[in-house]
């Protein structure tokens, strides 16, 4: 019986005797494992990005907008459109529901901003202070307006990071004056940046102003005074979100006197279910990329099998001799098996390194987070070892079964 150390020495000697061939054979597995690792990392990065940006819209959040749900798809909170069916009384009523952490009405509009001679067209949201909590905003600089400023329709604004950067590139925006739709406003705060939303929208390209101010002076001038274009409802916990969604729907149907079977005049969007859908989509995408790459790993395995078969044929005489000298079938099987596994494992390790490097390059190119789960890396290594076992088994078995006399007669 051969000692393990001798087995390893024998296999590594055989591989080193033809380094170029060994390297080229391992290359198939290197490319396979490398592309699987890189593609899965890319997909996971995209997934993390989608989840992160949707989560940045606000966690445990329901968004109520006027109008019925667009059939066959999820419509994002655009607000504004449709009839004005949501009122401040609705807001009050929702606030009374169980499990509500914050309710925030908002009125959206577009506005032309002018400051320091710079023009900037952006989205303006008329909100109440509860909007900060409901939508997970933080003030980076200055302060937010309070309840009484809101009630008094003061001409104060809090700028999104993009707006602040565009309009006040070199000066501290706090205390600066700016004009919106002809009126003069004071900048009292700047929001913490949230970045892009999952839908490609720059969330920081926004101006927040008191709801009453926006209703009276900017966007709601021609609408009823007590309607809003959107209601944000934050649940106290994620577990209550679905129940709360039903409660809000029942409440509004009741308040709007919608009979069973009739179409709602509002839509409640559940951000966590949108997140799940989007994440599931990108996950499918990840599996698809990984699956396609796995095919190249398979091709790498076939390459190993091919070379091992060639090697068994070339070394037939050597195998016959080893058997004549007392090698058991298991000794031969183990030696050739070990050669195949060593090739594929080495390929797997190099492939993992290259895959991580490739993933790093691609994710920084596409501006995605780099996500490489350690268990995925281990799986890549384990899988490459398995490829060696599977594709090395047949050639090794052929070698082990060779008839020594036949083998020795071969030239």
């Amino acid at each position: 019986m051969m000692r393990t150390a001798d087995l390893v020495a024998s296999a590594s000697r055989a591989l080193r005797s033809n380094p170029l061939r060994s390297a080229l054979t391992a290359l198939g597995v290197i490319i396979g494992v490398g592309s699987v690792v890189a593609m899965v990392a890319l997909g996971s990065g995209a997934q993390a990005q989608v989840e992160r940006s949707i989560a940045s819209l606000g966690s445990n959040l329901l968004i109520v907008v006027p109008g019925a749900q667009a059939s066959g798809g999820v419509r994002m909170a655009q607000g504004g459109g449709g009839r004005d069916t949501l009122t401040l009384d609705d807001v009050e009523a929702i606030a009374g529901l169980e499990g509500v952490l914050a309710v925030a009405p908002s009125q959206r509009g577009n506005a032309q901003l002018v400051a320091n001679g710079v023009n900037w067209n952006t989205r303006i949201e008329g909100v109440t202070p509860s909007y900060m909590l409901a939508r997970d905003w933080e003030v980076a600089q200055g302060r937010f307006f309070d309840e009484s400023e809101e009630r008094q329709a003061r001409r104060v604004v809090v700028l999104g990071a993009t707006v602040a950067r565009e309009l006040f590139p070199n000066v501290d925006p706090i205390g600066q004056a700016m004009r919106i739709s002809g009126g003069s406003y004071e900048v009292i705060g700047v929001l913490e940046s949230k970045g892009q939303s999952g839908f490609g929208m720059d969330q920081d390209d926004v101006v927040l102003a008191p709801l009453t101010t926006v209703k009276r002076r900017i966007s709601g001038r021609f609408r009823r005074a007590d309607t809003v274009s959107q209601i944000s409802v934050k649940a106290a916990s994620e577990g209550e979100l679905n129940r709360l969604q039903e409660d809000v729907e029942n409440l509004l149907r009741d308040r709007h006197r919608i009979r069973p079977g009739d179409e709602d005049d509002f839509t409640v969007q559940n951000l966590s279910s949108i997140t799940e859908t989007a994440a599931a989509t990108t996950q499918v995408f990840t599996y698809l990329l990984g699956g396609i790459s796995a095919v190249s790993l398979l091709v790498g395995g076939i390459g190993i099998m091919n070379i091992m078969l060639v090697s068994v044929t070339e070394r037939t005489r050597e195998i016959g001799l080893r058997k004549a000298l007392g090698a058991r079938q298991s000794d031969i099987l183990h030696q050739f098996g070990l050669e195949a596994v060593t090739l594929s494992l080495a390929g797997g390790i190099v492939g993992l390194a290259l895959g991580v490097a490739g993933a790093w390059g691609m994710t920084s190119l596409f501006n995605l987070p780099l996500v490489i789960a350690p268990q995925n890396a281990l799986m890549a290594i384990g899988f490459s070892g398995l490829v060696g076992v599977v594709f090395g088994a047949y050639p090794a078995w052929r070698a082990a079964k060779l008839d020594p006399i036949e083998a020795l007669r071969r030239e």
Partner: protein, 233 residues
């Protein structure tokens, strides 16, 4: 008196070639006592190599019975056969069959690797054997860096590595010139005097005359079996 080393009874080896059955061995019986040194001669195709392969545990007979060193070859499992080839037999080939990438020393170590001998002991024994066959200065040479006679000496050292009871050599001098062949035969005689039982196959009657006993084969049968006069005393 101890049991003979080899006891063959009515050995048969058949090869099926299409419709025709070739009797490579057609009922061969003989006994080789321990310490014997015998030559098998006969025309080409008479079954000499077939016989050697069966004696060496590389091939199994189609019929008859063969017992070597108290082991009935036909009853051995694959693993037992491997051990038998490793421990009981030392095989020497006409074409040396050294592994070209290994040094002389590593070639001699090879059977001991399969015998599970530890590296330190393995190297010592291999070095001692190479010194014994007169290659003490050539241990790290590759086969291609050695002459034919030197290569056959390495092969003999390798055959001795498992401390075999029986040394088998199929035309060991066939690929060597006359003088080198004589040197190899002298080495065999020395080994035999030290107690190793040797069976060699040869075409050359001069080679046969250097042994103690000649077995002559023809068409798969033994047609003559006699002691060589000069040595028999």
């Amino acid at each position: 008196m101890t049991a003979p080393l080899i006891e063959a009874k009515e050995l048969v080896k058949l090869y099926q070639m299409g419709d025709e059955t070739v009797h490579a061995l057609a009922g061969v019986s003989f006994v080789v006592p321990r310490g014997d040194y015998c030559a098998i001669v006969g025309p080409s195709g008479s079954g000499k190599s077939t016989m050697m392969n069966i004696l060496g545990g590389l091939d199994t007979p189609s019929g008859g019975r063969i017992v070597i060193d108290n082991a009935d070859i036909a009853t051995l499992t694959d693993e037992e056969l491997a051990t038998f080839r490793n421990r009981t037999i030392g095989f020497i080939f006409q074409s040396f069959n050294l592994l070209p990438r290994l040094s002389a020393l590593e070639n001699v170590e090879l059977p001991m690797i399969y015998g599970g001998v530890l590296p330190k002991e393995r190297k010592e024994r291999a070095a001692a054997l190479l010194t014994r066959v007169g290659l003490g200065e050539r241990m790290s040479h590759r086969p291609t860096q050695l002459s034919g006679g030197q290569q056959q000496r390495v092969a003999i050292a390798r055959a001795l590595a498992g401390r075999p009871a029986l040394l088998l050599a199929d035309e060991p001098t066939g690929a060597l010139d006359t003088q080198t062949g004589k040197d190899i035969l002298n080495l065999f005689s020395e080994l035999n005097r030290e107690g190793v039982t040797i069976v060699i196959v040869t075409h050359d009657h001069e080679v046969a005359a250097a042994t103690k006993r000649t077995i002559e084969m023809r068409d798969g049968r033994i047609v003559a079996d006699h002691l060589n006069g000069s040595r028999a005393a």
